[in-house]
Amino acid sequence: MSHVDDGTLHAYLDGELTAVEAQGVEAHVAECPACRGRLQEERALIARADELLGLAAPPDRGASPPFPLSALRRGGQGVRLLSALRRGGQGVRLPLAWAATVLLALRVGMYLGGAPPARHAQPAAESAGDLTAHPAATLPAVRETLSVKRPAASPAQRPRQAQRPAAPAAQAAPEGAERRQANAVGEVAHAMEAGEDSLEASRAREERTAAQPPMSSALYRADGGYTVTGPALTLDSARALLGADPQVVPGLPVRAIRTARRMGYSVLVVVEQALDSSTTITVINGRPSTLQLDAVVVSSAARPDSTGAAGRALVVRGRAAPPTDSLPPAARKADAAWYTRGAFADRSSAELFVEVRGPLSADSLAALKRRLQPLRP
């Protein structure tokens, strides 16, 4: 076999040869010291080029902003969102700060009791139809959203979950009502699924929340609530789902691992741990999804009364996987290659969202969260 040309070497190193072609290259390289040397050189060249390109990456390596649903409408949606968050003194961490806020509001709701009706289903589904008429692209609105520092990443959005814009509509309901709310939410999602294009349905949601600012904020379920969807998982399943080891508080017995669903997350694994005989905490591991529709809905939901305590965010980005660009170049390219070729591998390249909940003070929860470690078998 003749020597391997540069293009083929690069294609080989880029993983772009067919299996047969790749075998051919390998067979030749095994016998040909010259080509073996060149292979190393080209590998180094690729790594170097990747490194250089990495230097020329955009300075802000934040997570992706919400899917640009708001780009379809002309209006001050993003501006409102921003100012609402600023009123909360937070100004910068979109959905995460929001989740914390909302958690707090939930506590308040718990004590106050009461179960606000989930009444969004109908209108949302009804108004979903007229949305395609909207012209595209309002950069100003998008810009406002973008200029906010973005929270933990954007990965893994399942198509289905595009339909969960309904969830935040239920924000701020007391926990007692949570299950009911969740059911209602599920119905909305199904209603939407049935006939409507999901994004348009989402837009409908956005449309509605924007159109009805006077809507009681009590209707927005406040916990960033999640709905446990399945039976207990094994650790292996949880790991496979998350694409990483779930974070837990070391030393505490794990009572159960469950999968759950929540707005803005494609994967949610909830680990229940016994703090003592009567206290259970939950550690929520989530893969944020790209379609952060909660951010869209939040834009009109965020009110001074609920944003005040955003600073108590107990929400951190996990360190399960660094952003691709901070990896060594070679790893980065490998990662990038997977990124585009396998949704599964892609998951591990995104950041994990971790949150600890339990009937404890914010400080205690924060302390627990600092102790989180990946759960290994």
Partner: protein
């Protein structure tokens, strides 16, 4: 379809921003354009969304560059951007200096080499790159090999020049 688009957004948004950034060299502008590209995709619902997005993004970047050139000609003339920009001893400026050097090196590639390289770096496959650039599938590897070599050479050459200038 939008569901797929959400998936594409998830996997491609950052790459698209990176791709755009290396065209417009303004992070915020790159994000804007990427958002706009996706917004357009929502309306047009293209069949092959990913390739479509990069085509649209490339066109937008081109238009953007022209517009910017009209509005602020001096800022877009990369060649005219002096090396002194990164001569500040400040560490904070170092990264920016590196970026400028890479940018200058990229500018020395032929448009086709550069596009292939940036598309690859954005995560497109050889097949997608071929479809977008008009290269034969089999020529992508060769193009990338050349583009990478030139990029590294141009960068190193620029670096030497800079050191001498600083010396």
């Amino acid at each position: 379809m939008p569901d797929d688009l959400a998936e594409v957004y998830r996997t491609t948004y950052r790459a698209l921003v990176r791709f755009l950034y290396r065209r417009v060299w303004d992070a915020e502008r790159a994000e804007d354009l990427a958002q706009e590209a996706f917004a357009r995709a929502l309306v047009h619902k293209p069949e092959k969304a990913r390739g479509w997005l990069f085509v649209v993004a490339a066109n937008m970047a081109r238009d953007d560059a022209r517009r910017a050139a009209r509005e602020r000609r001096h800022l877009t003339l990369l060649k005219a951007e002096p090396q002194e920009t990164d001569s500040g001893a400040d560490d904070a400026l170092h990264a920016e200096g590196e970026r400028l050097r890479v940018r200058a090196a990229l500018e020395q590639l032929t448009p086709r080499d550069r596009e292939a390289l940036l598309l690859w770096d954005s995560g497109l496959s050889y097949e997608e790159i071929a479809a977008q650039t008009g290269l034969a599938r089999g020529a992508v590897g060769t193009t990338l090999a050349r583009a990478r070599r030139r990029l590294v050479e141009a960068f190193e050459a620029g670096g030497k020049g800079e050191h001498v200038a600083r010396g």
